[in-house]
Symmetry: C2
């Protein structure tokens, strides 16, 4: 990168620390292998069709099944599930990432976290390659919620919670 | 929609209430008209190129300039800027949305909120039409931050703040 591009990257990173986001774990299953990865690059897309998107680095293990068209699940973590985020963002690899947490299997065969804030089971509908990442759009086929509303949030390089309802 | 599809939409909406998100105002300028819209459907994409995406309903006024390729700015609101979110999500229309807040103009001619948590000035690089919405990918050409880290967050149908640093 040129020096100017590098400056923009530094400024952008500083700005992105302020984009508070719920922490999710994206899961998939492909050729009898399970995958899980903590992430924050998630967005709702449309209600018609009901759809969400995720941005995944092409270096990530889970990029391989997703590129092959495997479905995926987006699990929004509870504030008490910080340890699961840590396990799924580098502490462990592969199947070891499923040793902690109440993992179950959806009707469509996707691993999901039973006591997550919410889990969205998605059919992998479209992949858009952009730079180092691929944007995968998922059509939500099923969605479940669990427990009170109390999401784990990542902001300014730290985990936190949201303020109480007034 | 069929009844089953409707059930999924209901479940998905319930789940999405738990996806805590920073509140942003997306701005644009096209043919000497300024546009502003509050949103939460925003995600980082890649650092190479430095890029963000936004999902915009094709019914929204700002969809017209964005579809024409106009650049856009993503402004992350401070916790004190809830009123600006309200103005930019329906209370006011068009130019009236700029009557509240410290609006300035970037070098590239984009309106931005000077005292936002962060503002990302983007070149409009790609548009992907999906259902009712279009995903616009912006290459970040400039990014600025202002004030302490204290984003306005939307979760469970209400505005809130994040917990304090420990």
């Amino acid at each position: 990168m040129s020096e100017a591009a590098n400056d923009v990257a530094v400024q952008m990173r500083a700005g992105l620390r302020r984009l508070a986001k719920a922490v999710v774990v994206i899961t998939s299953q492909h050729e009898s292998q399970r995958y899980a990865m903590a992430a924050t690059a998630v967005s709702e897309v449309s209600m018609d069709p009901p759809s969400l998107l995720i941005c995944v680095n092409s270096n990530a293990s889970i990029h391989t099944p997703l590129s092959a068209g495997a479905g995926f699940c987006i699990n929004i973590l509870h504030s008490s599930q910080e340890a699961i985020s840590a396990v799924c963002s580098g502490q462990e690899r592969g199947e070891m990432r499923f040793q902690q947490g109440a993992w179950a299997q959806s009707k469509s065969g996707l691993p999901y976290l039973e006591d997550a804030q919410a889990s969205f089971m998605c059919r992998n509908d479209r992949a858009i390659v952009y730079g180092t990442h691929t944007i995968f759009i998922g059509v939500v086929e099923d969605a479940v919620t669990s427990g009170a509303v109390d999401p784990l949030v990542y902001v300014d390089g730290r985990y936190t919670v949201v303020g109480p309802a007034e």
